[in-house]
Structure formats: C-alpha cells, structure tokens
C-alpha cells in the first residue's frame, strides 16, 4: 500500500500516513511507528529511496521516492491475482456449526439471535454512514465492501437455518 501511495510522487512519512488514512478510512489506523519501520524495510530492500529533507516550519522530515525496482515490484503485486481463500473456514462458520449441531437448544438459539442482531445493527450503522452525502468515494467503496460481506453472512445464516429446519422436518416426517 505504501509503495502504491509513493507511485504518485515523493512523500514524507506523515503525508504517507495521512494518505493511507484517507484512502482506507475504515482500516485499522496505521501507527506512525509502523510507517517508519516499513519505510526502513523498503529502503533496505531498494524499493524506496530517501530523496531529501525539508523543515518547512516544523521538525525536519525526510521525503521518500519509489525506485525503478519498487515500481516493478508494485506492478508485479498489482498483476498477481489475489487467490480466493483455499479453505472454507471462519469464526462465524465454526460457531454456527457448533451451535446447530453440538450446543443445547437454548444456547444455540440465544447465540443465533444475538449474532444476527449484531450483524444487522452493524449493517444499519454502516449503511447510514454510506448514505451520508458527506461520505467520500474511497470511504463509500470501503463501506460497500463491509456491507456486502455482512449481507452475505446474514443471507447465509438464514439459508442455513432454513436448510437445517427443512432437514429436521424431513427427518421427523
């Protein structure tokens, strides 16, 4: 991500952190320390190089630029397809399976009701943020990503409950 931001021109650490937070406002905030340790690693690997210092009314800051090698690395990263997860797993899947097949009825019901309500509440919260005209494009894109995943979880949860209910009915018929 930092290489991608540097592709637009040299920047110093503070600007990089600010751009990162603007582009991915829903991501876990990037710590300043992390920016500098990552930059040091990128410099060590020859992907980024320091290009000067300025002190415009504040503390001295080092600007960094992407190198030709860094650009090649960035292109390679962008052209490599992100593989879909190789294993079907997840905390939600694990809990629902255990709730449905191993827990007692009351525990299972309480868990499923609370899980659904929590997902739906988060979906409403993120939708309100997305529908706010003041929300910027990159934020809308990130919110949409989260909303679509919550929507998928809720649909999957409903289908699963219907499926298990149907099986139980057929089994007892």
């Amino acid at each position: 991500m930092l290489l991608g931001l540097l592709a637009g021109g040299p920047r110093h650490g503070y600007e990089l952190k600010r751009s990162y937070d603007e582009q991915l406002p829903r991501a876990r905030p990037l710590a300043f320390g992390q920016v500098y340790t990552t930059l040091a690693r990128l410099v060590r690997d020859g992907l980024v190089t320091p290009v000067g210092q300025d002190q415009a009314g504040g503390p001295e800051r080092t600007s960094y630029a992407i190198t030709a090698e860094g650009l090649a690395g960035l292109r390679a990263w962008l052209t490599a397809v992100e593989p879909p997860a190789p294993h079907v797993a997840g905390a939600l899947l694990a809990k629902v399976v255990v709730a449905l097949f191993a827990a007692d009825a009351a525990t299972a019901r309480d868990y499923l009701v609370a899980q659904r309500a929590t997902h739906a509440a988060r979906l409403r919260e993120l939708t309100a943020l997305k529908a706010d005209p003041a929300t910027g494009l990159s934020d809308v894109i990130a919110l949409d990503y989260a909303i679509t995943h919550l929507d998928a979880d809720l649909r999957w949860l409903r289908t699963t409950l219907e499926r298990v209910a149907t099986q139980a009915q057929e089994g007892s018929a």
């Binding site: 449905l100 827990a103 007692d104 009825a105 299972a108 019901r109 499923l112 009701v113 659904r116 309500a117 739906a120 979906l123 409403r124 993120l126 939708t127 529908a131 005209p133 909303i147 679509t148 919550l150 929507d151 809720l154 649909r155 409903r158 409950l161 219907e162 298990v164 209910a165 149907t166 139980a168 009915q169 007892s172």
Partner: protein, 240 residues
C-alpha cells in the same frame, strides 16, 4: 419525545383458509424508518396493505394519528391515501399512457389541485430526484432506474406523512436501485416522513432505523424469521 404515528393492534387477516396475519401488534413513531422483513409468504405485504388502508383487516385495529382508520369507508381510506399516506410498489406501476410528469401530477389532480400547480409540483419533484430530463417521456421510453425515481416522485408529491414502500427496488443489486433508496431515505429524513419498507433484502433493511421480522403472520422477536417450526433448537415457542 417520540410520538406514535401509526399503530397496528392485534391485526388478523386471512385469504380464504390461509391466515396471512395472526395478531400483529406494532407501533411506529413519527419520522421513523421501519423495515418489515421475513421469508416469502410471512405476511409482509398484507401488513403493509392493512396499515396503508388498501386492505381491511378481519380483526384488530389500525390507528393513525390516534384515530382508527381500518373502519373508515373505502372512499375515506382512498382520500387518506391521496393526501397523507403514500404508497410505492415494486416496479413503480406507472400509468403507461401518461408521461413522467403526468404520472407524478396524478395524485394531486385526484386531490383536486389545479392542473398548473400539479404540473409545477411534479416537475419540481422530478428535478429533486434527478430525472427532470424524462418529464415528457412515457414509462416505456425510460430506463428502469428512471421509472423507479418517477414512481418515488409520485409517491412523495403529496408530501405524505407516511410512505409505504413494498420492495421498492427489488433486490438491491444495482447502483441505480441503491441510489434511489438513498434518495428515498434522505428525502424522508428531510421531511420527517415516516417510512414502512417491506423487503426481503438485508441490504435494503440496512437503510431502516429498526427491523421488524414476520414469521407465519406474527412478529418474530428473534429476527431469525424461520418459516415453520421444524427446527426445535431454534424454535421460538414461548419467546413471542
């Protein structure tokens, strides 16, 4: 302090031997946006039709602004729908022989507004919804998104206190549908219009302040909306 604007008290409604609503109690506050969700056949649309006065319940009461409306005559309920209660159906249901502006002006003309004032209001609503350019087009000449927005303009032109929307966008899988729903919520919030939104889509329900799930004609407090009582371990017997 919130004021209850619309209330369902023990609503029961059947179609022949099929019970669609089996005792629904619900209070909706002024300015509230409520999503009614649940599996197919759970009674969502019947509830909306009873609340909006399109259908009469077999038993129970619908109270709007402190007054029973379920026992009003068809003409009185019709008048209420022309003035205070707006209804937006899936696919819009525009009159195909009328232009967008004529469709939007229609509720005002039915409420005896002058032709000129109705047209001015219609054009202003089409403009607010970003479809002024189709004012003179027939529904058949418009895109799906334009038709949806025109139908929304028609539902809002009377500035209803309650807007009932039955699957207004279908599934929310297009950007046009999402933008239309965003506008609906924004305009409703600006005008303090109460919205009752019937949907099967979690993303659409995400636009509401509160979600009510129906199951077999009753409110399901678990929100799971499981049809039938086959799943013993998540059955809600005794909860509701």
């Amino acid at each position: 302090m919130t004021t209850v604007l619309l209330e369902a008290r023990g609503l029961v409604r059947s179609y022949g031997a099929v019970a669609a609503l089996r005792g629904v109690n619900l209070a909706i506050a002024e300015g509230e946006i409520v999503a009614v969700t649940g599996p197919s056949g759970c009674g969502k649309s019947t509830l909306l039709h009873c609340l909006s006065g399109i259908l009469r319940p077999d038993a129970g009461e619908v109270v709007y602004r402190g007054r029973r409306i379920d026992n009003l005559s068809e003409a009185e309920r019709s008048r209420l729908r022309r003035t205070e209660l707006g209804v937006l159906f899936q696919f819009g249901q525009l009159v195909s022989e009328l232009s967008a502006a004529e469709n939007v002006a229609l509720p005002l003309l039915l409420a005896r507004t002058s032709r000129r004032r109705a047209r001015t209001a219609a054009l202003s609503w089409l403009e607010r919804l970003g479809v002024a350019e189709v004012a003179d087009a027939l529904p058949g000449e418009m895109s799906g998104g334009q038709r949806q927005r025109t139908a929304l303009a028609r539902a809002l032109v009377t500035e209803p206190r309650v807007l009932f929307a039955d699957e207004p966008t279908g599934a929310l899988d297009t950007l046009a549908g999402e933008q239309m729903l965003g506008q609906l919520v924004r305009l409703a919030t600006q005008q303090r219009t109460t919205v009752v939104l019937v949907t099967h889509d979690p993303k659409v329900a995400g636009y509401a302040h509160r979600e009510i799930t129906l199951r077999d004609g009753q409110i399901d407090p678990t929100g799971l909306g499981l049809a039938g009582a086959g799943l013993a371990m998540v059955d809600t017997e005794g909860v509701g």
